[in-house]
Protein backbone atom coordinates (compact mmCIF):
# COMPACT_ATOMS: atom_id res chain seq x y z
CA UNK A 1 0.00 0.00 0.00
CA UNK A 2 2.73 2.40 1.06
CA UNK A 3 4.71 1.40 -1.94
CA UNK A 4 1.79 2.25 -4.17
CA UNK A 5 1.40 5.70 -2.60
CA UNK A 6 5.08 6.26 -2.99
CA UNK A 7 4.86 5.30 -6.65
CA UNK A 8 1.88 7.56 -7.17
CA UNK A 9 3.69 10.47 -5.53
CA UNK A 10 6.72 9.76 -7.67
CA UNK A 11 4.61 9.70 -10.80
CA UNK A 12 2.88 12.93 -9.80
CA UNK A 13 6.16 14.73 -9.19
CA UNK A 14 7.51 13.46 -12.49
CA UNK A 15 4.40 14.74 -14.20
CA UNK A 16 4.71 18.12 -12.53
CA UNK A 17 8.37 18.33 -13.42
CA UNK A 18 7.57 17.61 -17.03
CA UNK A 19 4.79 20.21 -17.22
CA UNK A 20 6.90 23.36 -17.48
CA UNK A 21 8.97 21.72 -20.20
CA UNK A 22 5.84 20.96 -22.21
CA UNK A 23 4.51 24.44 -21.74
CA UNK A 24 7.81 25.92 -22.89
CA UNK A 25 6.70 25.76 -26.50
CA UNK A 26 3.35 27.41 -26.94
CA UNK A 27 0.99 27.70 -29.85
CA UNK A 28 2.09 31.33 -30.09
CA UNK A 29 5.70 30.21 -30.58
CA UNK A 30 4.61 27.87 -33.34
CA UNK A 31 2.64 30.67 -34.99
CA UNK A 32 5.67 32.92 -34.86
CA UNK A 33 7.77 30.09 -36.30
CA UNK A 34 5.49 29.83 -39.35
CA UNK A 35 5.22 33.61 -39.72
CA UNK A 36 9.00 33.85 -39.81
CA UNK A 37 9.19 31.01 -42.31
CA UNK A 38 6.70 32.85 -44.52
CA UNK A 39 8.76 36.06 -44.30
CA UNK A 40 12.00 34.20 -45.00
CA UNK A 41 10.52 32.32 -47.94
CA UNK A 42 9.11 35.43 -49.56
CA UNK A 43 12.22 37.52 -49.07
CA UNK A 44 14.72 34.87 -50.17
CA UNK A 45 12.82 32.76 -52.74
CA UNK A 46 10.85 35.30 -54.72
CA UNK A 47 12.13 38.05 -56.95
CA UNK A 48 12.49 38.06 -60.69
CA UNK A 49 16.29 38.09 -60.85
CA UNK A 50 16.69 34.76 -59.05
CA UNK A 51 18.13 31.84 -61.02
CA UNK A 52 16.46 28.46 -60.66
CA UNK A 53 19.48 26.83 -59.05
CA UNK A 54 19.87 29.57 -56.43
CA UNK A 55 16.15 29.39 -55.67
CA UNK A 56 16.34 25.61 -55.24
CA UNK A 57 19.41 25.91 -53.04
CA UNK A 58 17.74 28.43 -50.74
CA UNK A 59 14.50 26.43 -50.71
CA UNK A 60 16.46 23.37 -49.64
CA UNK A 61 18.02 25.39 -46.84
CA UNK A 62 14.61 26.43 -45.51
CA UNK A 63 13.30 22.89 -45.95
CA UNK A 64 16.12 21.40 -43.89
CA UNK A 65 15.95 24.02 -41.14
CA UNK A 66 12.16 23.92 -40.70
CA UNK A 67 10.87 20.48 -41.68
CA UNK A 68 11.38 17.17 -39.91
CA UNK A 69 12.73 15.52 -43.05
CA UNK A 70 13.86 12.26 -41.39
CA UNK A 71 10.42 11.82 -39.81
CA UNK A 72 8.57 12.68 -43.02
CA UNK A 73 10.78 10.28 -45.03
CA UNK A 74 10.01 7.51 -42.57
CA UNK A 75 6.28 8.22 -42.73
CA UNK A 76 6.31 8.33 -46.52
CA UNK A 77 8.23 5.07 -46.95
CA UNK A 78 5.84 3.56 -44.37
CA UNK A 79 6.08 -0.23 -44.11
CA UNK A 80 9.01 -0.35 -46.53
CA UNK A 81 11.06 1.60 -43.99
CA UNK A 82 11.32 -1.63 -41.97
CA UNK A 83 12.70 -3.70 -44.82
CA UNK A 84 15.02 -1.02 -46.24
CA UNK A 85 18.74 -1.21 -45.42
CA UNK A 86 20.41 1.76 -43.75
CA UNK A 87 22.04 2.71 -47.03
CA UNK A 88 18.65 2.57 -48.78
CA UNK A 89 17.07 4.73 -46.08
CA UNK A 90 19.80 7.33 -46.47
CA UNK A 91 19.46 7.18 -50.26
CA UNK A 92 15.71 7.55 -50.00
CA UNK A 93 15.92 10.56 -47.70
CA UNK A 94 18.36 12.29 -50.02
CA UNK A 95 16.35 11.57 -53.18
CA UNK A 96 13.00 12.36 -51.58
CA UNK A 97 14.35 15.71 -50.41
CA UNK A 98 15.56 16.39 -53.92
CA UNK A 99 12.11 15.53 -55.27
CA UNK A 100 10.51 17.98 -52.82
CA UNK A 101 12.94 20.73 -53.80
CA UNK A 102 12.43 20.17 -57.51
CA UNK A 103 8.62 19.99 -57.17
CA UNK A 104 7.97 22.88 -54.85
CA UNK A 105 10.75 25.47 -55.19
CA UNK A 106 9.40 26.78 -58.48
CA UNK A 107 6.04 27.72 -56.91
CA UNK A 108 7.86 30.74 -55.56
CA UNK A 109 8.96 31.79 -59.04
CA UNK A 110 5.35 32.66 -59.85
CA UNK A 111 4.90 34.68 -56.71
CA UNK A 112 3.21 38.01 -57.39
CA UNK A 113 2.56 39.74 -54.10
CA UNK A 114 -0.03 37.43 -52.57
CA UNK A 115 -0.46 37.91 -48.85
CA UNK A 116 0.47 35.07 -46.51
CA UNK A 117 -1.30 35.28 -43.18
CA UNK A 118 -1.04 33.16 -40.07
CA UNK A 119 -4.44 33.14 -38.39
CA UNK A 120 -4.45 30.66 -35.52
CA UNK A 121 -2.50 28.06 -33.57
CA UNK A 122 -3.84 25.28 -31.36
CA UNK A 123 -2.23 22.41 -29.48
CA UNK A 124 -3.39 18.90 -30.49
CA UNK A 125 -4.01 15.97 -28.17
CA UNK A 126 -0.78 14.28 -29.25
CA UNK A 127 1.37 17.22 -28.16
CA UNK A 128 1.83 18.64 -31.65
CA UNK A 129 0.60 22.10 -32.58
CA UNK A 130 -1.49 22.98 -35.61
CA UNK A 131 -0.94 26.43 -37.08
CA UNK A 132 -3.54 27.74 -39.55
CA UNK A 133 -2.66 30.14 -42.30
CA UNK A 134 -3.86 31.19 -45.70
CA UNK A 135 -2.76 32.78 -48.94
CA UNK A 136 -5.07 35.15 -50.80
CA UNK A 137 -4.63 34.55 -54.51
CA UNK A 138 -4.94 37.32 -57.07
CA UNK A 139 -7.85 35.47 -58.72
CA UNK A 140 -9.85 35.64 -55.50
CA UNK A 141 -9.12 32.09 -54.34
CA UNK A 142 -8.08 31.62 -50.75
CA UNK A 143 -5.68 28.75 -50.15
CA UNK A 144 -5.67 27.39 -46.60
CA UNK A 145 -2.43 26.00 -45.26
CA UNK A 146 -2.39 24.07 -41.99
CA UNK A 147 1.00 23.25 -40.51
CA UNK A 148 1.57 20.49 -37.99
CA UNK A 149 4.46 21.30 -35.75
CA UNK A 150 6.32 19.23 -33.21
CA UNK A 151 8.70 20.29 -30.47
CA UNK A 152 11.75 18.12 -31.07
CA UNK A 153 14.12 18.64 -28.16
CA UNK A 154 13.45 22.36 -27.94
CA UNK A 155 13.45 22.87 -31.70
CA UNK A 156 10.28 23.34 -33.65
CA UNK A 157 9.94 21.18 -36.72
CA UNK A 158 7.13 20.89 -39.28
CA UNK A 159 5.97 17.28 -39.53
CA UNK A 160 3.18 17.85 -42.07
CA UNK A 161 1.60 20.52 -44.20
CA UNK A 162 -2.03 20.38 -45.29
CA UNK A 163 -3.01 22.45 -48.31
CA UNK A 164 -6.80 22.73 -48.48
CA UNK A 165 -7.03 19.59 -46.40
CA UNK A 166 -4.59 17.68 -48.58
CA UNK A 167 -1.68 16.38 -46.56
CA UNK A 168 1.80 16.58 -48.03
CA UNK A 169 3.07 13.40 -46.39
CA UNK A 170 -0.06 11.32 -47.02
CA UNK A 171 -0.05 12.28 -50.72
CA UNK A 172 3.59 11.34 -51.11
CA UNK A 173 3.07 8.15 -49.14
CA UNK A 174 0.29 7.06 -51.54
CA UNK A 175 2.50 7.87 -54.50
CA UNK A 176 5.52 5.99 -53.12
CA UNK A 177 3.44 2.97 -52.03
CA UNK A 178 1.97 2.56 -55.53
CA UNK A 179 5.33 3.15 -57.15
CA UNK A 180 6.98 0.42 -55.06
CA UNK A 181 4.08 -1.93 -55.62
CA UNK A 182 4.24 -1.59 -59.38
CA UNK A 183 7.99 -2.24 -59.14
CA UNK A 184 7.32 -5.60 -57.48
CA UNK A 185 7.72 -4.38 -53.91
CA UNK A 186 11.43 -3.64 -54.28
CA UNK A 187 12.84 -0.59 -52.48
CA UNK A 188 15.84 -0.64 -54.82
CA UNK A 189 13.54 -0.27 -57.84
CA UNK A 190 11.82 2.67 -56.18
CA UNK A 191 15.20 4.31 -55.61
CA UNK A 192 16.00 3.82 -59.31
CA UNK A 193 12.70 5.45 -60.26
CA UNK A 194 13.42 8.33 -57.88
CA UNK A 195 16.92 8.76 -59.33
CA UNK A 196 15.45 8.91 -62.79
CA UNK A 197 12.72 11.34 -61.71
CA UNK A 198 15.13 13.73 -60.04
CA UNK A 199 17.90 13.27 -62.57
CA UNK A 200 20.44 12.17 -59.97
CA UNK A 201 23.16 9.55 -59.86
Amino acid sequence: MKRRIFLAAGAASLLLASLPARAAVTAADAQKFIENLGDDAISSLTGSGLSESVREQRFQGLLESHFDLPGISKFVLARYWKVATDAQKADFQRLFEKLLVQSYAKTFAEYAGQRFQVTDGKPNDDGTITVNSHIDQANGDVIHLDWRIEDQGGQLRIIDLEVEGVSLRITHRSDIASAIQSEGGQVSSLLDALRQKTGSQ
Partner: protein
Protein backbone atom coordinates in the same frame (compact mmCIF):
# COMPACT_ATOMS: atom_id res chain seq x y z
CA UNK B 1 -36.38 20.22 -80.72
CA UNK B 2 -37.22 21.92 -77.44
CA UNK B 3 -35.51 21.08 -74.15
CA UNK B 4 -33.00 18.74 -75.73
CA UNK B 5 -30.12 19.86 -73.48
CA UNK B 6 -32.16 19.09 -70.39
CA UNK B 7 -32.85 15.62 -71.62
CA UNK B 8 -29.32 15.26 -72.86
CA UNK B 9 -27.67 16.28 -69.64
CA UNK B 10 -30.02 14.05 -67.69
CA UNK B 11 -29.42 11.24 -70.07
CA UNK B 12 -25.67 11.71 -69.93
CA UNK B 13 -25.64 11.69 -66.14
CA UNK B 14 -27.91 8.69 -65.94
CA UNK B 15 -25.83 6.92 -68.56
CA UNK B 16 -22.60 7.59 -66.69
CA UNK B 17 -24.15 6.36 -63.49
CA UNK B 18 -25.62 3.18 -64.91
CA UNK B 19 -22.41 2.61 -66.84
CA UNK B 20 -20.33 2.89 -63.70
CA UNK B 21 -22.52 0.43 -61.83
CA UNK B 22 -22.45 -2.01 -64.72
CA UNK B 23 -18.71 -1.70 -64.97
CA UNK B 24 -18.19 -2.16 -61.27
CA UNK B 25 -20.34 -5.28 -61.45
CA UNK B 26 -18.84 -6.74 -64.60
CA UNK B 27 -15.25 -5.82 -64.05
CA UNK B 28 -15.12 -5.94 -60.29
CA UNK B 29 -12.75 -8.86 -60.55
CA UNK B 30 -10.38 -6.92 -62.76
CA UNK B 31 -7.69 -6.71 -60.11
CA UNK B 32 -7.12 -9.78 -57.96
CA UNK B 33 -6.66 -9.00 -54.28
CA UNK B 34 -3.09 -9.82 -53.19
CA UNK B 35 -2.43 -12.62 -50.67
CA UNK B 36 0.40 -11.00 -48.72
CA UNK B 37 -1.21 -9.35 -45.63
CA UNK B 38 0.76 -6.11 -46.03
CA UNK B 39 -0.11 -5.88 -49.71
CA UNK B 40 -3.72 -6.68 -48.86
CA UNK B 41 -3.81 -3.80 -46.34
CA UNK B 42 -2.62 -1.40 -49.05
CA UNK B 43 -5.11 -2.89 -51.51
CA UNK B 44 -7.93 -2.23 -49.06
CA UNK B 45 -6.68 1.26 -48.28
CA UNK B 46 -6.55 2.12 -51.98
CA UNK B 47 -10.11 0.81 -52.30
CA UNK B 48 -9.64 0.63 -56.05
CA UNK B 49 -10.79 -2.81 -57.23
CA UNK B 50 -11.13 -1.64 -60.83
CA UNK B 51 -7.63 -0.21 -60.90
CA UNK B 52 -6.53 -1.67 -64.25
CA UNK B 53 -9.61 -0.29 -66.01
CA UNK B 54 -9.35 3.00 -64.11
CA UNK B 55 -5.73 3.35 -65.17
CA UNK B 56 -6.74 2.72 -68.76
CA UNK B 57 -9.29 5.56 -68.64
CA UNK B 58 -6.80 7.72 -66.78
CA UNK B 59 -4.26 7.35 -69.60
CA UNK B 60 -6.98 7.95 -72.15
CA UNK B 61 -8.06 11.15 -70.40
CA UNK B 62 -4.49 12.25 -70.03
CA UNK B 63 -3.90 11.92 -73.76
CA UNK B 64 -7.17 13.68 -74.53
CA UNK B 65 -6.29 16.45 -72.09
CA UNK B 66 -2.86 16.97 -73.66
CA UNK B 67 -4.44 17.14 -77.10
CA UNK B 68 -7.54 19.20 -76.43
CA UNK B 69 -8.19 20.68 -73.00
CA UNK B 70 -4.69 21.73 -72.02
CA UNK B 71 -3.97 23.70 -75.24
CA UNK B 72 -7.46 25.17 -75.11
CA UNK B 73 -6.95 26.28 -71.52
CA UNK B 74 -3.53 27.70 -72.34
CA UNK B 75 -4.99 29.72 -75.23
CA UNK B 76 -7.83 30.85 -73.01
CA UNK B 77 -5.28 32.12 -70.46
CA UNK B 78 -3.24 33.78 -73.17
CA UNK B 79 -6.00 35.47 -75.13
CA UNK B 80 -8.37 36.70 -72.45
CA UNK B 81 -7.38 39.50 -70.10
CA UNK B 82 -7.22 38.31 -66.51
CA UNK B 83 -10.18 40.44 -65.30
CA UNK B 84 -12.36 38.84 -67.98
CA UNK B 85 -11.30 35.36 -66.84
CA UNK B 86 -12.16 36.30 -63.27
CA UNK B 87 -15.54 37.60 -64.44
CA UNK B 88 -16.30 34.37 -66.30
CA UNK B 89 -15.28 32.32 -63.29
CA UNK B 90 -17.39 34.45 -60.95
CA UNK B 91 -20.48 34.17 -63.17
CA UNK B 92 -20.12 30.37 -63.35
CA UNK B 93 -19.62 30.14 -59.60
CA UNK B 94 -22.63 32.36 -58.96
CA UNK B 95 -24.76 30.17 -61.21
CA UNK B 96 -23.88 27.20 -59.00
CA UNK B 97 -25.08 29.01 -55.87
CA UNK B 98 -28.75 27.84 -55.95
CA UNK B 99 -27.72 24.18 -55.85
CA UNK B 100 -25.03 24.89 -53.24
CA UNK B 101 -27.80 26.49 -51.15
CA UNK B 102 -30.03 23.42 -51.58
CA UNK B 103 -27.19 21.21 -50.41
CA UNK B 104 -26.30 23.49 -47.49
CA UNK B 105 -29.92 23.12 -46.35
CA UNK B 106 -30.00 19.35 -46.94
CA UNK B 107 -26.85 19.11 -44.84
CA UNK B 108 -28.64 21.08 -42.10
CA UNK B 109 -26.01 23.82 -42.27
CA UNK B 110 -27.92 27.01 -41.44
CA UNK B 111 -24.83 29.19 -41.24
CA UNK B 112 -23.43 28.06 -44.55
CA UNK B 113 -26.87 28.30 -46.19
CA UNK B 114 -27.15 31.89 -44.96
CA UNK B 115 -23.78 32.76 -46.47
CA UNK B 116 -24.65 31.13 -49.80
CA UNK B 117 -28.02 32.89 -50.00
CA UNK B 118 -26.48 36.28 -49.20
CA UNK B 119 -23.68 35.68 -51.68
CA UNK B 120 -26.16 34.87 -54.44
CA UNK B 121 -28.31 37.92 -53.72
CA UNK B 122 -25.37 40.32 -53.42
CA UNK B 123 -23.40 39.05 -56.39
CA UNK B 124 -26.42 38.76 -58.67
CA UNK B 125 -27.34 42.40 -58.05
CA UNK B 126 -24.45 44.56 -56.82
CA UNK B 127 -22.02 42.18 -58.50
CA UNK B 128 -23.77 42.63 -61.88
CA UNK B 129 -25.14 39.17 -62.67
CA UNK B 130 -22.30 37.57 -60.76
CA UNK B 131 -19.41 39.13 -62.69
CA UNK B 132 -17.91 40.65 -59.55
CA UNK B 133 -17.58 38.74 -56.31
CA UNK B 134 -18.61 41.65 -54.11
CA UNK B 135 -19.87 39.32 -51.37
CA UNK B 136 -16.35 38.02 -50.65
CA UNK B 137 -15.16 41.55 -50.02
CA UNK B 138 -18.07 42.04 -47.63
CA UNK B 139 -16.99 39.03 -45.61
CA UNK B 140 -19.24 36.36 -47.14
CA UNK B 141 -16.60 33.92 -48.34
CA UNK B 142 -17.33 31.28 -50.92
CA UNK B 143 -17.60 27.59 -50.06
CA UNK B 144 -18.51 24.68 -52.26
CA UNK B 145 -20.63 21.64 -51.65
CA UNK B 146 -22.67 19.21 -53.76
CA UNK B 147 -24.98 16.22 -53.53
CA UNK B 148 -22.04 13.80 -53.10
CA UNK B 149 -20.98 15.74 -50.01
CA UNK B 150 -24.58 15.88 -48.78
CA UNK B 151 -24.89 12.08 -49.09
CA UNK B 152 -21.66 11.75 -47.12
CA UNK B 153 -23.03 13.92 -44.29
CA UNK B 154 -26.02 11.58 -44.25
CA UNK B 155 -23.63 8.69 -43.65
CA UNK B 156 -23.37 7.26 -47.17
CA UNK B 157 -19.97 5.67 -47.79
CA UNK B 158 -17.93 6.57 -50.85
CA UNK B 159 -17.63 3.09 -52.32
CA UNK B 160 -14.78 2.04 -54.59
CA UNK B 161 -12.73 4.60 -56.48
CA UNK B 162 -13.60 4.98 -60.15
CA UNK B 163 -11.93 7.00 -62.86
CA UNK B 164 -14.18 7.77 -65.81
CA UNK B 165 -13.52 9.13 -69.27
CA UNK B 166 -14.10 12.92 -69.38
CA UNK B 167 -15.62 13.01 -65.85
CA UNK B 168 -12.38 12.01 -64.14
CA UNK B 169 -11.97 10.76 -60.56
CA UNK B 170 -15.10 9.79 -58.66
CA UNK B 171 -16.86 7.03 -56.74
CA UNK B 172 -20.43 5.67 -56.72
CA UNK B 173 -21.53 8.17 -54.08
CA UNK B 174 -20.17 11.24 -55.85
CA UNK B 175 -21.28 9.93 -59.22
CA UNK B 176 -24.84 9.58 -57.93
CA UNK B 177 -24.53 13.12 -56.62
CA UNK B 178 -23.44 14.27 -60.06
CA UNK B 179 -26.50 12.59 -61.58
CA UNK B 180 -28.79 14.36 -59.11
CA UNK B 181 -27.05 17.67 -59.88
CA UNK B 182 -27.68 17.21 -63.60
CA UNK B 183 -31.35 16.55 -63.02
CA UNK B 184 -31.86 19.26 -60.40
CA UNK B 185 -29.91 22.03 -62.14
CA UNK B 186 -32.35 24.96 -62.47
CA UNK B 187 -30.49 26.65 -65.33
CA UNK B 188 -31.01 23.92 -67.91
CA UNK B 189 -34.77 24.19 -67.29
CA UNK B 190 -34.63 27.97 -67.53
CA UNK B 191 -32.61 27.89 -70.75
CA UNK B 192 -35.06 25.35 -72.14
CA UNK B 193 -38.06 27.49 -71.23
CA UNK B 194 -36.59 30.52 -73.03
CA UNK B 195 -35.54 28.46 -76.01
CA UNK B 196 -31.83 29.23 -75.54
CA UNK B 197 -30.70 25.68 -74.87
CA UNK B 198 -27.36 26.31 -76.52
CA UNK B 199 -26.44 28.29 -73.38
CA UNK B 200 -26.26 24.99 -71.51
CA UNK B 201 -23.48 23.90 -73.83
CA UNK B 202 -21.74 27.27 -73.61
CA UNK B 203 -21.87 27.02 -69.85
CA UNK B 204 -20.55 23.46 -69.76
CA UNK B 205 -17.75 24.33 -72.18
CA UNK B 206 -16.73 27.44 -70.27
CA UNK B 207 -16.89 25.52 -67.03
CA UNK B 208 -14.45 22.90 -68.34
CA UNK B 209 -12.05 25.45 -69.83
CA UNK B 210 -12.18 27.70 -66.77
CA UNK B 211 -11.47 24.81 -64.43
CA UNK B 212 -8.62 23.52 -66.57
CA UNK B 213 -7.12 26.99 -67.02
CA UNK B 214 -7.12 27.62 -63.29
CA UNK B 215 -5.33 24.35 -62.67
CA UNK B 216 -2.75 24.48 -65.45
CA UNK B 217 0.21 25.06 -63.18
CA UNK B 218 -1.09 23.00 -60.27
CA UNK B 219 -1.69 19.83 -62.28
CA UNK B 220 1.59 20.24 -64.10
CA UNK B 221 3.37 20.54 -60.79
CA UNK B 222 1.63 17.49 -59.36
CA UNK B 223 2.51 15.43 -62.41
CA UNK B 224 6.15 16.46 -62.28
CA UNK B 225 6.41 15.69 -58.58
CA UNK B 226 4.72 12.30 -58.78
CA UNK B 227 6.29 8.96 -59.53
CA UNK B 228 2.86 7.39 -59.94
CA UNK B 229 0.62 10.21 -61.22
CA UNK B 230 -2.49 8.02 -61.13
CA UNK B 231 -2.03 7.04 -57.47
CA UNK B 232 -1.28 10.63 -56.53
CA UNK B 233 -4.46 11.92 -58.16
CA UNK B 234 -6.43 9.14 -56.44
CA UNK B 235 -5.05 10.20 -53.07
CA UNK B 236 -5.63 13.90 -53.79
CA UNK B 237 -9.23 13.33 -54.86
CA UNK B 238 -10.05 11.37 -51.69
CA UNK B 239 -8.33 13.82 -49.36
CA UNK B 240 -9.99 16.77 -51.04
CA UNK B 241 -13.47 15.24 -50.83
CA UNK B 242 -12.92 14.22 -47.21
CA UNK B 243 -11.86 17.76 -46.39
CA UNK B 244 -15.05 19.11 -47.98
CA UNK B 245 -17.09 16.61 -45.95
CA UNK B 246 -15.30 17.67 -42.76
CA UNK B 247 -16.18 21.31 -43.39
CA UNK B 248 -19.78 20.43 -44.28
CA UNK B 249 -20.23 18.36 -41.12
CA UNK B 250 -18.86 21.19 -38.98
CA UNK B 251 -21.17 23.77 -40.61
CA UNK B 252 -17.90 25.62 -40.79
CA UNK B 253 -18.64 29.23 -39.90
CA UNK B 254 -15.30 30.20 -41.44
CA UNK B 255 -17.12 31.61 -44.43
CA UNK B 256 -18.86 34.13 -42.20
CA UNK B 257 -15.77 35.48 -40.50
CA UNK B 258 -15.14 39.14 -41.21
CA UNK B 259 -12.37 39.89 -43.63
CA UNK B 260 -9.20 39.88 -41.57
CA UNK B 261 -7.22 43.04 -41.26
CA UNK B 262 -3.62 42.88 -42.37
CA UNK B 263 -1.75 41.26 -39.50
CA UNK B 264 0.53 39.06 -41.54
CA UNK B 265 3.58 40.13 -43.45
CA UNK B 266 2.69 42.86 -45.89
CA UNK B 267 3.98 41.75 -49.24
CA UNK B 268 5.04 43.86 -52.12
CA UNK B 269 4.78 43.14 -55.80
CA UNK B 270 7.81 41.21 -56.92
CA UNK B 271 7.66 41.83 -60.61
Amino acid sequence: MPSTPVKLSRLRAAGAFVGAILLSGLLGGCATPPKDPDELAVYKENNDPMEPLNRYFFDLNYGFDELVFKPLAAWYNLLLPTPVEHGVHNVLTNMDAPLVLVNDLLEGNDKRAGVTAKRFLINSTVGVAGIFDVASKWGYKYHDTDFGITFATWGVGEGPYVFLPVLGPSNPRDLTGLGVTAVADPWSYLFGAYDVQYLSYVRAGLYAVDMRARNLDTLDQIRKGAIDYYATIRSLYRQHRNDMIKHAVADDPLAELPYESASGPQLTESN
